[in-house]
Amino acid sequence: MFGKFFLKVRSGGKVHFDYVIAYRQAIGIVDLKALDRFMKTNDVDKLLLIAENPLTQGTINYLNDLSWKEKVEVVVTDRLLKTVSELKKKYREKEIKVINLDEFGERPFQYDSC
């Protein structure tokens, strides 16, 4: 945990990841906006978007306008968590980061708690 922090300081703020695995039942523009910031502030080789629902045309259009679209691979599965867990195992030798998109980016600022 701290290792990543010091690595980030050394490399001028960017951390290298071989794979970033981002998952949510349905992935939309809000998720892509959050990932856009992450991709621009880190050095990512491949971004795997794992979802239960296929990306809609609106989401695909937005994705196509992003500078890092070439690095994206979309995986649609009906076993979301199992697929994520399998991918984590598959790439355990690599530098990976797993992102639960339900808890990432703008979503914290969407609810009224009282």
Binding site: F5, T56, F109, D112, C114
Partner: protein
């Protein structure tokens, strides 16, 4: 005066305000243009951005902004300052500030591609403003967890019959979520099944009340039975806040919406049948146990008049579902007026359905029911008053009314507990992800949040924490109004409609925080609350100064251009 008559006068003012002042705001500031695509239409991704029919979006937005806040605040304020003082603040605050805040926050987000207000703050003010805004939100959420945890724990002591249905509501929500989202059961069947289960557990709670022994403790964690309940609630919040959103948060919010509509409907129908005479004083005093009328009344009633959290919903989910700009007024402005309608019902319950008894001996008396040493508090007082109204409806009795009222409010409070813990965790993770990844771990972030909330809850009472929470919530509103004002200045719209409420709320809430700091340093030493108040004050001052620079720069640019 008759309570029903006062409610009618209030509703006439509030909804008159919607049609008259709402129209002015629409015309002068928003100028909706339905030929302009909203983000919901332009970016329709079927996930967050998706046009929704106006009545459906109104229901979503209203149930998102209305919870325990507009009930707890007014019930305290009537006791401290009298029903007329509380009513005037709700009436004026909602029409001229709260609804303007919600409507403008919604439409500024719509005009900024559905961005959250934190993002608008970054664009319109600065990146630092966004970070400070996030820190502010986190501290406010910690206070929310503490105050609602303490309030609920008190209810379990005073009304042990409500323990079973309150916790059952959580399991029912999980069951509902599993039925609807995983098993594909139609939503109406799930709803009916859930509501039947709620009724069964209400009955079970009456037969099997759960009380803790009077001298029960948990070492340093809890020194009394109510603190044991508080610790149990904190443990619940710890685990519930990491459950998937679809499993608990979404279904429980949906069920709470039904409880909200059921409660409001029963309350107003009961008011028509009961039409009780107001027996509480219109005005008590310029000073009370809660502090001086200014600034404390304006922070004790936060959510019923103006609430900063509404801007999160407006710029979060609602702005991404608005089908056309002209619907913004009914959703943004109208839902806040509807929340003030709920606050009005609560004020009438306090003023007319309960008996004003300063001796504190009468069991149906307001003062007795609010007495924490008798296991009372705002939830119990509201529920008993609600029961007094509901019992007048043919076929119902006060016992059913009390349980429904208490379950409704406890349901909201429990919702608040885990939603606030979850949000606080998210915000803390976002704040520390790049700098202190150790804290960004979801369990660590949750434990840090809960630990602070426990510390506040264990060393303070709801009476001491509530005003600080109210002040911080109102300050979020003042900051949101500052952000939208910066936006309106940039697009050359008149500023008085948003800047005047922003300044009034800024001065009032900063005054309230300073008063709290003074009180908890010099009068009743509670350093943790005093320090929190001072930190919030400093953060607000920082954003204010940051925004001031932006305003000056924008004014200069406009002057040079003209």
């Amino acid at each position: 005066m008759n309570g029903l008559l006062w409610a009618i006068i209030m509703l006439a003012w509030l909804w008159g305000g919607y049609f008259i002042y709402g129209k002015i705001i629409e015309k002068k500031l928003i100028q909706p243009d339905d030929s302009r695509s909203t983000p919901a239409v332009e970016y329709n991704d079927g996930v967050d951005y998706s046009p929704a029919k106006t009545p459906i979006l109104f229901g979503h937005h209203f149930s998102s902004i209305a919870g325990a806040g507009p009930i707890v605040g007014p019930i305290i304020a009537v006791l401290y300052f009298g029903w007329l003082a509380a009513s005037l603040w709700v009436a004026l605050g909602a029409v001229f500030m709260g609804a303007v805040h919600d409507y403008t926050a919604l439409m500024v987000s719509v005009r900024n591609k559905g961005s959250s207000l934190a993002d608008v703050a970054e664009t319109a003010v600065s990146h630092r403003a966004k970070v400070i805004f996030a820190i502010f939100i986190w501290i406010t959420l910690v206070l929310v967890v503490a105050v609602f945890g303490v309030v609920t724990a008190k209810t379990f002591i005073g009304q042990p019959q409500i323990v079973v249905p309150t916790f059952a509501l959580i399991l029912i929500a999980i069951f509902f979520g599993w039925l609807v989202y995983r098993m594909g059961v139609p939503i109406w069947i799930g709803t009916v099944a859930a509501l039947i289960l709620v009724a069964i557990f209400l009955y079970a709670g009456d037969i099997y009340p759960i009380s803790l022994p009077r001298n029960a403790t948990l070492g340093f964690l809890a020194s009394s039975p109510s603190m044991i309940w508080f610790v149990i609630l904190m443990i619940y919040a710890l685990f519930a806040s990491v459950l998937p959103v679809w499993l608990l948060l979404q279904p429980r919010d949906y069920l709470s919406m039904w409880l909200l509509f059921l409660g409001m409907g029963l309350g107003y129908i009961g008011l028509i049948f009961a039409h009780p005479t107001i027996n509480a004083p219109a005005f008590t005093s310029f000073t009370s146990k809660g502090g001086p009328l200014w600034p404390m009344l304006f922070v004790i009633i936060a959510c019923g008049a103006i609430s900063g959290f509404h801007s999160l919903v407006a710029g979060g989910t609602t702005s991404k579902q608005l089908e056309k700009e002209s619907s913004g007024k009914i959703i943004g402005y109208g839902a806040m007026i509807m929340e003030a309608t709920l606050a009005t019902l609560v004020i009438v319950i306090g003023a007319a359905a309960l008996k004003w008894d300063p001796s504190g001996k009468l069991h149906l008396g307001y003062q007795f029911l609010m007495n924490k040493s008798a296991g009372g508090g705002p939830i119990k007082a509201f529920a008993v008053g609600f029961g007094q109204l509901v019992k007048e409806i043919p076929g119902l009795n006060s016992k059913i009314g009390i349980y429904v009222g208490m379950l409704m409010l406890n349901g909201f409070v429990i919702t608040t507990l885990d939603t606030a813990t979850r949000l606080a965790r998210f915000v803390l993770q976002e704040l520390t992800r790049d700098t202190i990844p150790f804290i960004a771990n979801r369990w660590i972030a949750t434990i840090v949040t809960i630990a602070f909330a426990w510390y506040f809850g264990a060393t303070g009472s709801w009476k001491t924490i509530w005003p600080v929470f109210g002040a911080s919530n109102q300050l979020v509103a003042a900051l949101a109004l500052t952000v939208v004002s910066a936006y309106f200045l940039g697009v050359k719209k008149p500023l008085k409609y948003t800047v005047i409420p922003a300044i009034l709320m800024l001065v009032t809430t900063m005054g309230a925080l300073l008063y709290q700091a003074y009180k908890f340093i010099f009068v009743v030493p509670k350093l943790q609350i005093a320090i929190t108040a001072l930190i919030l004050f400093a953060l607000a001052l920082f954003i204010f100064l940051e925004a001031k620079d932006v305003f000056i720069a924008l004014f200069r640019t406009q002057k040079q251009t003209s």
